[in-house]
């Protein structure tokens, strides 16, 4: 068994398929042999959380899982264990503030534009897509500032989230 994370829309709704997850403790079958973006349960390692934020964050238990890369965990079936209560509007605001705090200062026009984008989006943050957009804009600003900045900023964001939400950073099988 593997513990991983799953972002869902309100009401335990899968963000892309629209499928509703059963209540915590009940297994959800992935419908066949797991294949990336085709079949199976898709969940996340903590390192990938900033790229996939929605309103609800859940800790999930996965059966027969693989790690195809990109922080994604694929499994034949999974079940919700508990909702990560710390992922809230308040945390999303704090996350946005942290992204703003780490924005590159000065720099070329592209960097300044990216930074301004981040500040503008941060003003609208609630837990969900807007928070995801702040993280994205901040990572783009970091990339404009220095090569490799995008991935470095994404990792920094993931570490911040894992620490704030007291998540496991690795998911041994």
């Amino acid at each position: 068994m593997t513990i991983a994370y799953k972002f869902l829309r309100p009401g335990r709704m899968a963000p892309f398929t629209g499928a509703r997850w059963p209540p915590a403790g009940e297994w959800l079958d992935g419908g066949g042999s797991p294949a990336l973006c085709r079949c199976g349960i898709h969940a996340l390692e903590a390192v990938a959380l900033p790229k996939w934020m929605t309103e609800e964050l859940w800790r999930v238990e996965l059966d027969d899982s693989t790690h195809p890369g990109g922080g994604i965990v694929l499994a034949r079936r999974g079940r919700l264990v508990e909702r990560v209560a710390g992922w809230s509007d308040e945390t999303a605001h704090a996350y946005a503030e942290d992204c703003l705090h780490h924005l590159p200062r000065g720099g070329c026009e592209v960097v300044r534009t990216r930074a301004a984008d981040t500040v503008a989006v941060a003003a609208t943050v609630i837990a969900g897509t807007a928070a995801a957009e702040v993280g994205y804009c901040a990572a783009k600003a970091a990339e404009a500032d220095a090569p490799g900045g995008y991935e470095r900023e994404r990792i920094r964001q993931a570490i911040w989230l894992a620490s704030r939400l007291e998540l496991e950073r690795s998911t041994p099988g």
Binding site: C37, K51, W52, E133
Partner: protein, 80 residues
């Protein structure tokens, strides 16, 4: 731009393949990763889904003749 990223414009170009479930897995992943942070594209995708659902319920008799002729003229223009 990150190498592993699609733009809003690319997403618009790929939306039909996405809805037809014919995107290769790697492109589908990038498509959904874009949706995760871009609320505008999320809205666009929902509008496309709604349009497909509503037009699927239309019968030929439901179309106003003027609207039908206008649409045909536009489509013929595309074909040129």
């Amino acid at each position: 731009m990150s190498e592993r990223e699609i733009t809003c414009q690319e997403l618009v170009e790929l939306v039909t393949e996405y809805l037809d479930d014919s995107l290769p897995p790697d492109r589908r992943l990038l498509f959904e990763e874009h949706l995760a942070f871009c609320s505008a594209c999320g809205t666009y995708l929902e509008q496309m889904r709604l349009t497909i659902r509503l037009t699927g319920t239309l019968r030929e008799d439901d179309l106003d003749p003027i609207a039908r002729d206008s649409m045909l003229a536009v489509l013929r223009g595309f074909a040129r």
